[in-house]
């Protein structure tokens, strides 16, 4: 059974200029974020969402996590409709977004995780142990009791991933999860993702990093200007350059590396 099902999903953002900009250059209009996008993902699958900026990767992730609602089509998560059964969907989904400042600055990493784990209904009897394990797996055990306002970008990003994992979701959504991570942490993170997938988690990974996609993903979904251009498997050990060549060929963009 598919864990994630997108059926002909449309999402349009309509802009209205701010009052003070009525006389300025800003004009009303709309941006088509997703246009007739359909795909599905099963348990144990890792999907890489590839595409340039503004292609609709983050919109797809936000639709799955119920932060956004589709304008047309349906998004089903574990058999539940994201529009009608948002609560059931949210119980299954863990999300780590790219812009990671979304913590309470005067709480420590452990206190932040404890807060979010409580809201995510992690049982009290398991919470402390789960948090300790997640902190260790995310390489944050040394910083567990540091106030997060003192964190660097990389530590924030690790904590964002830890927050998504502490819930032990059946669907893990990651938006550029390794953007601020060092090489060692990134490699460890990729191993963690593969291990989670083997245990049955569905992972959706929005990334610009071809090496990351080829290292962890089973399939690549290529989005361009809101449309799904390709849905292709990634062979085990496939070279990042092959994926890169496929990306530039499909999107029609010029690869500066070749010129």
């Amino acid at each position: 059974m598919n864990r994630i099902t997108f059926e002909s999903v449309h999402k349009i953002f309509r802009h209205r200029p701010a009052l003070r900009n009525w006389l300025g250059r800003e004009r009303s209009g709309e941006t088509i974020a997703l246009k007739d996008v359909s795909f599905s993902a099963a348990a144990t699958e890792v999907l890489a969402l590839l595409g340039p900026n503004g292609s609709g990767k983050t919109t797809a992730i936000k639709l799955i996590s119920t932060i956004l609602l589709p304008d047309a089509g349906s998004v089903k998560i574990g058999g539940f409709d994201a529009r009608r059964n948002a609560h059931d969907v949210r119980r299954q989904v863990g999300i780590a977004v790219a812009a990671e400042r979304s913590f309470f600055p005067r709480l420590s990493a452990r206190e932040n995780l404890d807060f979010f784990a409580t809201l995510d209904d992690v049982p009290r009897s398991e919470r402390a142990q789960r948090i300790a394990e997640t902190l260790r797996d995310s390489g944050l055990d040394e910083h567990a009791d540091t106030l997060v306002m003192k964190f660097s970008s990389g530590l924030y990003q690790r904590l964002g991933i830890a927050r998504a994992l502490v819930k032990r979701p059946s669907i893990l959504l990651l938006d550029e999860p390794t953007r601020s991570l060092d090489a060692g942490t990134t490699a460890h993170f990729w191993t963690t993702i593969r291990a989670l997938a083997r245990q049955g988690t569905t992972v959706l990974l929005a990334t610009h990093n071809f090496a990351e996609a080829s290292a962890v993903a089973d399939r690549a979904l290529l989005l361009h200007r809101g449309q799904l251009l390709a849905d292709r498997p990634i062979a085990k050990g496939e070279n990042a350059d092959t994926l890169r060549a496929f990306y530039f060929h499909s999107t029609g963009e010029v690869d500066e590396k070749d010129s």
Partner: protein, 306 residues
């Protein structure tokens, strides 16, 4: 059983549970539902504890802010004390000395303003840091989350009100004759109204990124209409009628009757009934508007706009 578990709001859960207990067709599942009720309450208290702990730790670790607010409270009280001395003891609005009159009026009014401010700034900060979107993806429903957060916010503002009133009595010798039960009754009704206003402020912040508009309205125009510093019957007739249409007037008047006159609940029934009616109308309306606004923000992608 599944039907109950699937409901978004914990208030819905409680209502359904109480209905199901009274319905004979559910009698066989009575024990199961009690267990479920118990686990639901445990989870809710667990979340409430987490929110209270977060807010308490944040306040304690923000030491300078905490100290400055205490200094502000004492400065304000001193200003009112010397103002009432300057006016003289001959001025006794509603038959009480001017300083206690001001103490209760400004204390209760500040409680309302600070409650709304707590809601608006919590939503604003969550929008700016991106926490709002993350909280909206948690397993706790938005309305449940807001109501639990409000309890924490009210604990803070209620604490401020108690410090304000206690300092007025202990340091500036304001004469009071409190009736404990009447004070509690007025406070409960006022809390419901403040909750509705707080949710309205949060709704305005999410819908138009302008929760501060309600704060501005409270801080500028409404205070002088609600009998904070002088009795509303001193106002011209049209303005007095306007004052009588606002819940603050009854909250302030009720607290003065309970705290300064020591009136029993029975003597305060009309004031309490009007205040309760405001709460019963405003709270469901505010929750309805918030649910609609959240849905609209999710549809338009404006949840994190600020």
């Amino acid at each position: 059983m599944k039907k109950i578990r699937d409901r978004r709001s914990f208030f819905c859960n409680l209502t359904l549970l109480s209905l199901s207990i009274t319905n004979s067709s559910y009698a066989r599942n009575y024990k199961l539902e009690i267990t479920q009720f118990s686990s639901l309450m445990t989870a809710t208290f667990d979340k409430l504890y987490a929110i209270l702990r977060r807010d308490l730790l944040t306040t304690i670790r923000h030491r300078s802010g905490f100290v400055l607010s205490l200094v502000g409270t004492f400065t304000e009280l001193a200003a009112f004390y010397f103002l009432s001395r300057a006016i003289g003891s001959g001025f006794r609005p509603d038959g009480v000395a001017f300083f206690p009159f001001l103490l209760v009026g400004t204390g209760v009014y500040t409680f309302f303003v600070m409650s709304v401010q707590a809601f608006v700034s919590a939503v604003q900060e969550a929008q700016q840091t991106g926490t709002l979107e993350v909280l909206m993806t948690s397993s706790t429903g938005p309305v449940e989350l807001l109501i639990l957060s409000s309890i924490s916010a009210f604990a803070g503002t209620l604490g401020n009100l108690l410090i304000y009133l206690s300092a007025g009595v202990a340091v500036f010798r304001a004469a009071i004759h409190p009736n404990f039960f009447s004070c509690v009754a007025v406070m409960i009704c006022s809390l419901v109204v403040a909750l509705a206003l707080g949710i309205a402020g949060a709704t305005l912040q999410i819908a138009f990124q302008k929760g501060s508009a309600l704060l501005w309205l409270l801080g500028s125009g409404i205070w002088f209409l609600s009998g904070t510093m002088f009795p509303v019957h001193s106002l011209p007739r049209p303005l007095e009628l306007l004052a009588r249409a606002m819940p603050f007037t009854y909250a302030i008047d009720g607290m003065r009757q309970a705290l300064l006159d020591g009136r029993p609940i029975s003597a305060m029934a009309p004031t309490l009934a009007i205040l309760a009616a405001f709460g019963l109308v405003l709270l469901p309306l505010a929750i309805l508007c918030l649910s609609f606004t959240l849905r609209r923000a999710r549809q338009n992608g404006t949840l994190s706009f600020y």
